[in-house]
């Protein structure tokens, strides 16, 4: 309350004496302030754009330039080859296999992840005992280094002497061939990703949930809505912008997934038959194992276009849901 009292103090002091109307003496200064008015806003926002140009735009364009050349990692720039690198990448089967893997792992991770994050956030939004403990708890997997996570999980998912298969065998089930079977390897990697990111997303959603006015829930409760109905009729619609944000960020992250598949076996190349080779692993192999920066850059650009494509599709879908829901209410 005391804080509120101080803000009610008269604001007059901030204005100070008003500037006198421009006198002839001040004309030149006025012109200068015209320049000032016109250009200084650009100057104020310049740091962002300069930084973006240096760290975002330039590498992007330069990668495109590299992609048009024969470019050895050590020897540097070679001949200009036009779109040859793109053609070589797109006509090879490796790229498409990596693309399928990436999308598959992305779907297997993002969808359950966001659903689970939503449920966890709802649970944390209740009046729990030791609230902070639980909230910090869900963030814990995010704090653990991904490499450590991958090491633990690669022991869980070891084909022959792994913990999960040992458990399956004790209850009489067939062991899963986590590294040989393509789909099983995607599930295993998606599990690592979910382990790491679900809590993080849950906290973002929780923050948004806290901003939902409590009286909406009270009214709904008075109207006889149960918790489930309240969740769908109040929580989810109120969270829509946050959910869109979470979906977009997890799309970008999911399509660039690298750490988990790289750490999934001892070689980090995505399996002997490319079972879990994602686009970023493929890119890394081209550039850093085979030393072909031209091809690697071509893949980088294609990956960029794919992410933009997915982003647009996601945006359109979620916007449509948003407007449809909006009309309904």
């Amino acid at each position: 309350m005391t804080v509120g009292a101080t803000t009610t103090a008269p604001p007059a002091t901030t204005a100070g004496p008003l500037p006198a109307p421009a006198s002839p003496k001040r004309e030149r200064r006025g012109r200068r302030s015209g320049v000032d008015v016109r250009f200084s806003p650009y100057l104020y926002i310049a740091p962002f754009f300069v930084l973006f140009a240096v760290t975002g735009l330039f590498p992007l364009l330069y990668t495109g330039w590299v992609a048009l050349h024969d470019w050895d990692q050590i020897m540097g720039q070679g001949e200009f080859v036009g779109l040859d690198n793109f053609v070589a990448v797109l006509t090879g089967s490796a790229f498409w296999r990596a693309f399928t893997n990436t999308v598959s792992i992305f779907v297997l991770s993002s969808v359950p992840q966001i659903a689970a994050a939503l449920l966890i956030a709802t649970a944390l939004d209740r009046n729990l005992r030791a609230k902070t403990l639980w909230r910090m708890g869900v963030l814990l997997p995010y704090v653990v280094a991904p490499v450590a996570v991958a090491l633990i999980f690669s022991n869980l998912f070891a084909d022959r002497f792994g913990l999960i298969n040992a458990l399956l065998e004790t209850v009489g089930l067939e062991p899963v061939r986590w590294h040989s079977d393509r789909f099983a390897s995607h599930v295993a990697i998606a599990t690592m990703v979910n382990f790491r990111w679900t809590g993080y997303n849950a906290l973002i959603l929780l923050a948004a949930m806290q901003a939902v006015p409590r009286d909406l829930y009270e009214q709904a409760a008075i109207d006889g809505a149960n918790a489930w109905r309240q969740f769908w009729a109040i929580t989810v619609p109120m969270l829509r912008p946050t959910i869109i944000f979470v979906i977009i960020t997890s799309t970008i992250g999911g399509l660039q997934i690298f750490d988990e598949p790289r750490m999934f076996d001892q070689y980090g190349r995505g399996g002997a038959d490319q079972q879990w080779q994602t686009l970023t692993i493929y890119l890394y192999e081209l550039g850093w194992t085979r030393s072909d920066f031209g091809m690697a850059s071509a893949v980088a650009w294609l990956l960029f276009l794919i992410i933009v494509g997915f982003g647009i599709v996601n945006y359109l879908i979620t916007r449509r849901i948003a407007t449809a829901e909006g009309k309904k209410s």
Binding site: Q73, I74, M75, G76, G92, S93, A94, S154, N155, A158, D159, R160, F161, G162, R177, H179, S180, D265, Q266, Y267, R269, G271, A272, D273, Q275, W288, T289, R290, S291
Partner: protein
């Protein structure tokens, strides 16, 4: 307040103690520096050298010794966990033309690809070191114009390690002399004995088809690339023949435990009775001992099918981008001298590539308690002398061999392909390399 003051006091005093202890350590080093002859520049100018290695080179103590003997030189040791990561880091710094260490360790499988960039490395040729190594060790890093790109550190002469207890249970001889006699000869013989073994045992004959592949391909002079540098991997009948032989033995005859090298399953399998023999370069002893801690029965036989063979081994090179090429060369020369390499052997079991080191009593008399007190020094000296030549590896060796290892893994470990379809995938992978 009282308690936190107390903590500060504790912290302060423990820091002081640590400082005092380190100071003592420095004092000791100083003392030993005095009796070494001062060959260093000693003009008060501090030279910093960095040495990049991977796995275990056994250089920790040696570098300290060098610092003590050469005042004014400070050596930092950069260690990568695997050879692959060391290779990637080195490629990166060569590409960026900065960031490489003054001395870079290189593995024999990929040292050759760096021969494509001779200007990136200092010439280490020096009359002083001529004849220091096995000829074939030096030839692999000598360029056409006589430039020497690296000094040899260790080599991986191969013997056969085996589980005497499993041999006994299957009715095979257990004494290492008898086992050596039993396995003497060709790979066919090794596989035949294996068939006898698996008929009488639950265990497999060897750990992994991939390991067998390394042993066999390293006995072929021009495996993947011919003398002119053309890629012949897919058309070389020798390659296809051993590919078929390995997979026949591994899958059809069920001699392989079907483990992927270095995987968690592979590491865990040493604690169980999964397989009875392994191809065993010197550096493998440490790995077996580590993974199989507590398992009794390991021994090593002085034999290798198909003649001698080497698996692994490394070099030290001096990238041309360094600021102290002269001092770095001096250090590399010192590290790879026979005396130092014997010390590295004592520390980590890396087997020296220097001819003179093979006469060292320390080496010849060393035994290994874990391997039933086998005279490992003598065994590996014999194994090294059985090696007549090191296969010629071209610049694409590493990439092609990786693709071939994948092909074998698909059949032996993953069972997603049969030998024929997996070979087809290998062929297209090689074509994609261009």
């Amino acid at each position: 307040m009282q308690s936190s003051k107390h903590i500060y006091y504790l912290l302060a005093s423990s820091t002081a103690l640590t400082l005092a202890l380190t100071a003592c350590g420095d004092g000791d080093n100083g003392a030993s520096a005095d009796d070494g002859d001062d060959t260093g520049s000693g003009s008060g100018r501090q030279i910093e050298l960095s040495v990049a290695t991977f796995n275990e080179f056994g250089y920790e103590e040696l570098l300290k010794e060098y610092e003590a003997d050469n005042p004014g030189i400070k050596v930092t040791h950069v260690k990568a966990d695997t050879a692959d990561n060391a290779r990637a880091a080195l490629r990166n710094s060569l590409g960026a033309n900065s960031g490489a260490s003054d001395i870079e360790g290189m593995e024999v499988d990929w040292v050759v690809e760096f021969k494509q960039y001779p200007d990136k490395f200092a010439d280490l040729a020096d009359p002083e070191v001529e004849g220091r190594w096995f000829d074939w060790k030096t030839e692999a890093v000598t360029l056409e114009d006589g430039k020497l790109m690296g000094y040899g550190t260790d080599i991986g002469p191969e013997a056969i390690c085996y589980r005497a207890d499993l041999f006994e249970a299957a009715g095979l001889p257990t004494d290492r002399e008898e086992v050596a006699e039993l396995l003497e000869g060709s790979w066919e013989n090794y596989f035949e004995v294996g068939k006898d073994f698996v008929a009488n045992s639950d265990a497999a004959w060897y750990d992994s088809a991939g390991a067998l592949w390394q042993g066999m391909i390293n006995q072929i002079d021009y495996a993947y690339e011919d003398a002119d540098g053309n890629i012949v991997a897919a058309s070389n009948p020798e390659v296809r023949a051993i590919y078929d032989q390995v997979l026949q033995a591994s899958v059809e005859d069920e001699l392989s435990a079907g483990l992927a090298l270095w995987s968690p399953d592979y590491t865990a399998s040493f604690q169980k009775d999964e397989f009875a023999t392994m191809l065993c370069p010197g550096w493998m002893l440490g790995i077996i001992e580590g993974n199989a801690a507590g398992v009794e029965g390991w021994d090593v036989a002085n034999v290798f099918p198909g003649g001698g063979g080497v698996w692994g081994g490394s070099y030290l090179t001096v990238p041309a981008q360094g600021d102290n090429i002269e001092e770095a060369t001096k250090l590399a020369k010192w590290l790879t001298a026979p005396e130092q390499q014997v010390k590295a052997f004592e520390a980590k079991g890396t087997f020296p590539s220097q001819l003179e080191a093979l006469d060292s009593d320390v080496l010849l008399e060393s035994t290994n308690a874990f391997f039933n007190d086998a005279p490992t020094g003598q065994i590996f000296v014999d194994r090294a002398e059985a090696v007549k030549a090191q296969p010629v590896k071209g610049p694409r060796y590493f990439d092609i061999n990786t693709a071939l290892q994948d092909a074998i893994t698909r059949v032996d470990v993953d069972q997603t392909d049969d030998p024929e379809s997996s070979w087809a995938k290998f062929v297209s992978a090689v074509e994609a390399l261009g």
